[in-house]
């Protein structure tokens, strides 16, 4: 993810722009736009009068995203102001929020999920999954109505973390859930931990969130990178081939997935011939494909998600690699959100994940049927994670009769939540607060005429080692 490092925008005034300087400023504006810090991009363009009118998000994002800017005078005076006021508020609001008797009236549940940009579909699936569960039980948790306060996660850590702050301080949410992207989860971790807001992470899978940076108040219902990738390494070495090439998107989760796969693959006698980490995001994998072929492996293990997964799998097929080099990878490479766009290029692909749409258990059959009835589209693993996040919240609140003020009791209640989920048995590891996941081996085959993941084996019930 292109994090917004300030590309040192020229802070010259509009009137004195030479033509060439103008062009450079424009190029920089474009670069900023791509970085996602869109409103901030108006900064060099906006003459002073526009500054006070700038929306709060821009102002809020500014100090954190660009502390090293060669700040023009206006900015220098504006920037320090919010900073000191904000720091004390964190401390100040924590105490009253905790002391407030919060067990009557509607339950305020803060939700941070991406509703725009590349992860918009994941955010929609998770929220729809939550709503499916809440509606199914009459929208009550511990006898209280569930009231969702939602914010858009987007893709950029700095503004997303500000929104977590807003949910905690301004909206005073009693519980928090969501977060798709790992860097954003790491960014929000201290805020949530310090404010003791009990949080249910419903996607972000960076290992460290339930290892070195775990918090008693943070629970994860989704997965860790290690959990999904590790079991496949052993299976692949024992059952498929001892020679693979690993490729993964060059960011934390991709690298962690690759490392976990490699660890168990090598422990079981496999040899990794080559590792390739293309930049993220990436539209064209054609340059990497001859490199894979040159290493002459019998299979590849790959991690990509979203549009990267679509492009990789299609191009892997277009260039004829799939015929001779078995396509395997993380479940996200071949999940329901990308499978329709991959089409037949995905056929034969093998992956591991903690769920599959075709998984045969009563809860999943029920979940898939009610999802289709309500939303008229196909569910994904993200939808299932939203569904389970909502259920965890409801089950825990029922145990404490809706009282969120007693944090320790609520944490205990959360730790004890156990139920039959569409993924199989659901329970937390009390030591890490990460979910203990059944991991399934899946192969893409034609299901009712369309490519779909068929579960061919269970790779075990996997607990993240937590260190």
């Amino acid at each position: 993810m292109p994090v917004n490092v300030d590309p040192a925008l020229p802070s010259r005034s509009v009137a004195s722009l030479s033509r060439r300087g103008f062009l450079r400023a424009l190029a920089a504006t474009g670069a900023w736009a791509v970085g996602g810090s869109l409103l901030a991009a108006c900064q060099p363009a906006a003459p002073p009068p526009a500054a006070p009118a700038a929306p709060t998000t821009a102002a809020a994002a500014q100090p954190t995203s660009a502390p090293a800017t060669s700040a023009p005078a206006a900015q220098a005076t504006a920037a320090p102001a919010p900073q000191p006021t904000r720091a004390p508020t964190t401390v100040a609001t924590v105490a009253p929020a905790a002391a407030k008797p919060a067990s009557t009236g509607p339950l305020k549940l803060g939700v941070l999920l991406p509703f725009s940009q590349v992860y918009a579909q994941l955010g929609a699936d998770i929220l729809d999954g939550m709503n499916l569960y809440f509606e199914g039980i009459g929208n009550k948790a511990g006898g209280r109505d569930v009231q969702i306060v939602k914010e858009d996660e987007g893709v950029d850590p700095a503004p997303a973390v500000q929104k977590v702050r807003k949910l905690i301080e301004q909206d005073q949410v009693e519980l928090f859930t969501g977060i798709v992207s790992t860097p954003i989860a790491y960014g929000a971790r201290d805020l949530l931990h310090n404010a003791k807001v009990i949080s249910v992470i419903s996607n972000a899978g960076g290992n460290d969130l339930t290892r070195g940076r775990k918090s008693p108040y943070i629970f994860r219902v989704s997965f860790s990178a290690w959990q999904v990738a590790y079991p496949l390494g052993e299976w692949e070495a024992k059952n498929l081939t001892k020679k693979v090439v690993i490729t993964a998107a060059d960011y934390g989760f991709g690298r962690e997935s690759a490392a976990a796969f490699k660890q168990s693959y090598e422990q079981n006698g496999g040899t990794v011939l080559k590792e390739i980490y293309p930049k993220f995001p990436n539209n064209d994998y054609a340059p990497n494909l001859p490199e894979i072929q040159a290493a002459n492996p019998e299979a590849t293990y790959n991690f990509y998600s979203g549009s990267d997964a679509v492009n990789f799998v299609k191009q892997y097929n277009d260039f004829g690699l799939k015929k001779t080099i078995k396509l395997t990878g993380s479940g996200f490479l071949l999940e329901e959100d990308v499978l329709p766009a991959q089409g037949e290029a995905a056929l034969g692909g093998i992956s591991s994940l903690h769920w599959a749409k075709t998984l045969d258990n009563p809860e999943n059959t029920q979940f898939v049927a009610s999802w289709r009835a309500k939303y008229k589209r196909e569910p994904s693993v993200f939808a299932m994670q939203g569904f389970d996040a909502a259920r965890v919240i409801v089950e825990a609140l029922n145990k404490v009769s809706g009282n969120t003020a007693d944090k320790d009791a609520l944490v205990k209640a959360m730790e004890g939540v156990k139920f039959s989920s569409p993924r199989g048995a659901f329970e937390f590891d009390p030591a890490t607060h990460n979910v203990i996941n059944p991991i399934y081996l899946r192969e893409v085959r034609l299901v009712d005429g369309k490519p779909g993941n068929v579960v061919t084996a269970t790779l075990g019930t996997i607990k993240d080692p937590g260190a």
Binding site: V14, S18, R19, R20, F22, L23, L26, A27, T29, G30, A31, A33, V34, G36, L38, A41, C42, A45, S116, Q117, V118, Y119, A120, Q121, L122, G123, A124, V155, D250, I276, Y277, P278, K279, P281, N282, N283, D284, A286, P287, N288, P290, E291, Q293, A294, G306, S307, A309, V310, N311, K314, D318, F319, G320, D337, V338, P340, A341, Q342, G343
Partner: protein, 293 residues
């Protein structure tokens, strides 16, 4: 061909295919800048819109070719309307206001796409005659037909542009307009209409490249700004406002990117950035740009 050279030949084809995709993307941006003197920051959004409309039209009609022909015309006409209604009143104002307008337009169009098509990743199948791989006798391996088509389309387009610019009266007027719009107006040519036509044409080109790119890559939210950045890099390197610059800039960026990705996949963005820095230091106006001072 000796077998050890096959990977290199494949990478050269990859580089050419990506370069031609970039050229088709950047040409419209460069053209509009050359004449209208502002950077159309909605260029990526028109590209994205073209891709999604191409998807819709190809699905509805069952013909990719119909989409490739129809979508650029439709989006170009929309661009014509936008120029007349939104941009024209701003021509007397500083260029930055025109740029900001197109920047805002980019967000509006991005949201329109999200409303109409949602956040799912989409892909467009190449037409049946371009599906699969073509066997290249010289290489002894297959290469995706669609990529060969992208190369052909880019080269043909470049040839047509050259003919249009060098050999027709319209091309002469556009070239003159790039040099000195006031003088062109003084000669009795309606510069306003010329601006409108060029803007519409540039926007149509963005949509055309979007339709071309859809089966090559995939469609997703955020592709608009990604494309805009690439197009900006290409025209900054090639020299803003010249089609020749867009062509050679695209070749340079496409080749550097392809070989950069192959050699150091995790630092590949750095390769393009370094290239841009090197060009800007040695030739601040770009390879073929004139200093417009």
């Amino acid at each position: 061909m000796p077998p050890e050279l096959v990977p290199l030949a494949l990478q050269l084809l990859n580089a050419l295919a990506f370069s031609m995709l970039l050229f088709q993307l950047a040409a419209g941006l460069s053209l509009i800048f050359g004449l209208l003197r502002f950077v159309n920051l909605a260029h990526g959004a028109f590209y994205m819109l073209g891709g999604y409309l191409g998807l819709a039209l190809a699905q509805a009609s069952g013909s990719f070719w119909l989409a490739l022909a129809g979508v650029p015309v439709g989006v170009g006409l929309a661009g014509l309307g936008l120029e007349v209604v939104l941009l024209r009143p701003l021509y007397r104002r500083p260029h930055l206001e025109q740029v900001l307008l197109t920047f805002g337009l980019a967000f509006v169009l991005g949201d329109v796409v999200r409303l109409l098509w949602g956040g799912e990743v989409r892909s467009v199948a190449p037409p049946p005659e371009l599906a699969g791989a073509a066997f290249l006798p010289g290489l002894g391996v297959g290469y995706p037909r669609y990529r060969l088509f992208v190369i052909a389309s880019g080269l043909v387009l470049a040839g047509l542009f050259w003919l249009l610019q060098a050999r027709t009266r319209l091309g002469a007027i556009v070239r003159a307009g790039v040099q000195d719009p006031e003088m062109v107006a003084a000669l009795g040519i309606d510069v306003g209409r010329l601006f409108t036509a060029v803007f519409a044409f540039g926007v149509g080109l963005a949509a055309y490249s979007g339709v071309i790119a859809a089966p090559y890559q995939s469609l997703q939210l955020g592709m608009d700004f990604e494309a805009l950045l690439l197009a900006l890099i290409v025209v900054v390197i090639g020299g803003l406002g010249t089609l020749r610059g867009a062509f050679f800039g695209a070749l340079l960026v496409g080749t550097a990117d392809t070989f950069g990705k192959a050699a150091f996949p995790d630092y590949s963005l750095l390769v393009i950035s370094a290239l841009m820095a090197a060009v800007l230091i040695s030739r601040p106006a770009g390879l073929f740009g004139r200093s417009l001072g």
